[in-house]
């Protein structure tokens, strides 16, 4: 009787421990040469969930990236999958790899940054595993309860996932970046999978080149809207940005009018930024734009229309013609 009782207790305990055990897979985003910074924010999110963190580096000749990842504190294992088939990081070839990895390790959570790559890949994986994915989280309450925004950031939703596996994309600006030094994770090869892909093919990329900091990671962002009138006038913003070490963004109006390329768009359907300082120049402040920048620490608005909605969220508002204000600001900032 006694021994049976003991055994039951032991079994229960084991089940309890097993049920509680968390292990998270973070899909590293990189360009085969170096890690994309949002992976560091995603690792911080994974740390908040608790448990072991494994990081998957899949690409073509990307062992350098795996080395970089193994030094990130908090990562306990790095899985490397080096294959020509991952050229262009197409979801059609990455999904089979992830399925094989999940089958072998049985993670409780799979995370990636909410970038074009993460957004393209995770739902495909989730459907294959019959999991309802969770997009663009901004907070973690516990291992199954997450916080995200809906309606262009105008409402905050807290949801509890009923799936046993959680597949989640992480808003980079909502989590600090993990350190790049101090860890010492073991590296091993990822499980082999049939990743042959004859349905899609990467052709080419045309990336906008810039010496300025990357938009989503910049400490200061200066954005221009329709008020800039044309593409040439954006040079004024570039000049100011260079003086301030800032990145330059744009509203949808400025992108649609062809002033600047679309990867500069800040908003619900563009990039989400949360810099220390956001300077909105000639931007009225439509809901869709605010969705992409209203978590900035300090917001400055320069607009000649005192009624522009942007002034309702701006910490400092200057009602002035931008064509006068911006060059003057560049002058003063340059003199310091």
């Amino acid at each position: 009787m006694f021994s049976r009782c003991c055994r039951t207790k032991l079994v229960n305990q084991t089940v309890y421990l097993f049920g509680r055990y968390q292990s998270t897979l973070v899909i590293a985003e990189h360009d085969n040469q170096k890690l994309i910074p949002i992976t560091l924010n995603t690792i911080t999110a994974a740390n908040k969930i608790g448990g072991d963190i494994t990081c998957l580096v899949a690409g073509t000749q990307c062992s350098k990236v795996a080395e970089e990842v193994s030094k990130i504190p908090g990562v306990s294992k790095v899985l490397l999958a080096d294959n020509e088939a991952f050229k262009g990081f197409l979801p059609e070839s990455l999904t089979p790899l992830l399925l094989a990895t999940q089958k072998q390790f049985n993670f409780s959570h799979i995370l990636a940054g909410a970038t074009a790559m993460g957004k393209g890949l995770l739902p495909r994986l989730a459907a294959k595993l019959d999991v309802s994915p969770i997009s663009d989280i901004i907070g973690i309450k516990d291992k199954e309860t997450f916080i995200r925004t809906i309606y262009a950031g105008n409402a905050i939703q807290t949801l509890k996932s009923k799936d046993s596996l959680k597949i989640i994309s992480v808003r980079g600006t909502a989590f600090e970046a993990a350190a790049l030094e101090g860890g010492n994770a073991a590296s091993e090869n990822a499980p082999s999978a049939d990743v042959k892909n004859d349905v899609s093919e990467y052709v080419s990329q045309e990336l906008s080149k810039s010496d300025r900091p990357e938009l989503t990671a910049a400490k200061t962002v200066i954005s221009g809207g329709r008020g800039m009138k044309n593409g040439e006038n954006f040079k004024m913003l570039y000049d100011l940005a260079d003086k301030m070490g800032a990145a330059v963004g744009a509203s949808r109006a400025a992108v649609d009018a062809g002033f600047v390329p679309n990867d500069m768009q800040v908003g619900q359907t563009g990039k989400i930024v949360a810099p220390d300082l956001y300077v909105a120049v000639g931007i009225s402040g439509a809901i869709q734009h605010l969705a992409g920048m209203k978590d900035s620490k300090v917001i400055v608005a320069i607009n000649k229309d005192p009624e522009a909605p942007i002034f309702q969220v701006a910490d400092y508002g200057l009602v002035q013609d931008l064509f006068k204000a911006v060059p003057e600001m560049t002058d003063i900032v340059g003199k310091k």
Partner: protein, 255 residues
């Protein structure tokens, strides 16, 4: 290859220009008596499908919407824009509250097979739940390639060449047909439905299906714990001059 059949998903959402209100009991946002329209990205999806038909690449455009009765208005809009026929997947309003991309993608995948579609086009995201999942999940369920965030689509032979909007710029990929596309904002400029076309759309066929017709379980997969207002930013101040502004920023250590 013979002309293609295109299935387009369109969602009825609160109009993009409406300032939403969160319900006092924190269960969701107020939708009663609020202006609704077709999700802007889905208008772009419909427009692209209709253009494929005008270019004689597509032979038929089928619009699908999953939701309560009022979705039929959204489908009429799609028909007025040039879709040939519509399928309304009728969801009980109670189930609709917890309906998610995982459910919708199962409907779309089943319909794509039943209707022998060659291309499924959906918007890249709905502006209410902001999920950005349905297209990718539909592609997975069908085992078709996906071309997400498309800003340009061209057909050559059995392939589609698609320019995608990615974080650092643009990317070109090729996908074999059949395929799933998700439309980005810059794919096209959707047309307005003219009055004669709106009248004609009333006569176009609209089929009604239920989740059980399509063999999809709509049980909720996530529990909404709460929906709340975002933190309100404290009122800021107006400054008189650029000098003032820069001084203030310097004092806060931002410049």
């Amino acid at each position: 290859m013979s002309a293609l059949r295109v299935l387009v998903g369109c969602k009825r959402v609160i109009d993009y220009a409406v300032k939403i209100r969160v319900k006092p009991d924190k269960t969701g946002v107020v939708t009663d008596g609020v202006k609704h329209s077709m999700n802007p990205f889905d208008e772009i999806a419909i427009e692209e499908a209709v253009r494929l038909k005008e270019k004689k690449i597509a032979s038929e455009v089928i619009a699908v919407s999953c939701g309560p009765q009022q979705c039929q208005e959204t489908l009429r809009t799609a028909l007025a824009m040039g879709a040939d026929r519509a399928i309304h997947v009728d969801i009980d309003p109670k189930d609709y509250e917890t309906l998610q991309p995982i459910h919708v993608s199962k409907f779309l995948a089943k319909l794509a097979q039943d209707e022998k579609a060659d291309i499924v086009i959906v918007g890249k995201q709905a502006i209410d739940d902001d999920c950005n999942q349905t297209g990718q999940m539909t592609a997975a369920l069908l085992d078709w390639p996906q071309a997400t965030f498309a800003s340009k689509v061209e057909k050559n032979n059995g392939d589609l060449t698609v320019i995608r909007e990615i974080d650092g710029g643009l990317e070109t990929i090729k996908v074999k047909l059949p395929a799933v596309l998700t439309a980005d904002l810059r794919l096209n400029e959707p047309r307005y439905a003219t009055l004669p076309n709106i009248m004609k759309a009333k006569k176009k066929p609209m089929a009604k299906k239920t989740p059980s017709d399509l063999g999809v379980d709509v049980a909720s997969r996530q529990e909404i714990v709460s929906v709340e207002d975002p933190p309100v930013r404290e009122a800021g101040q107006k400054v008189e001059s650029v000098e003032d502004l820069v001084t203030k920023l310097k004092d806060s250590g931002l410049v």
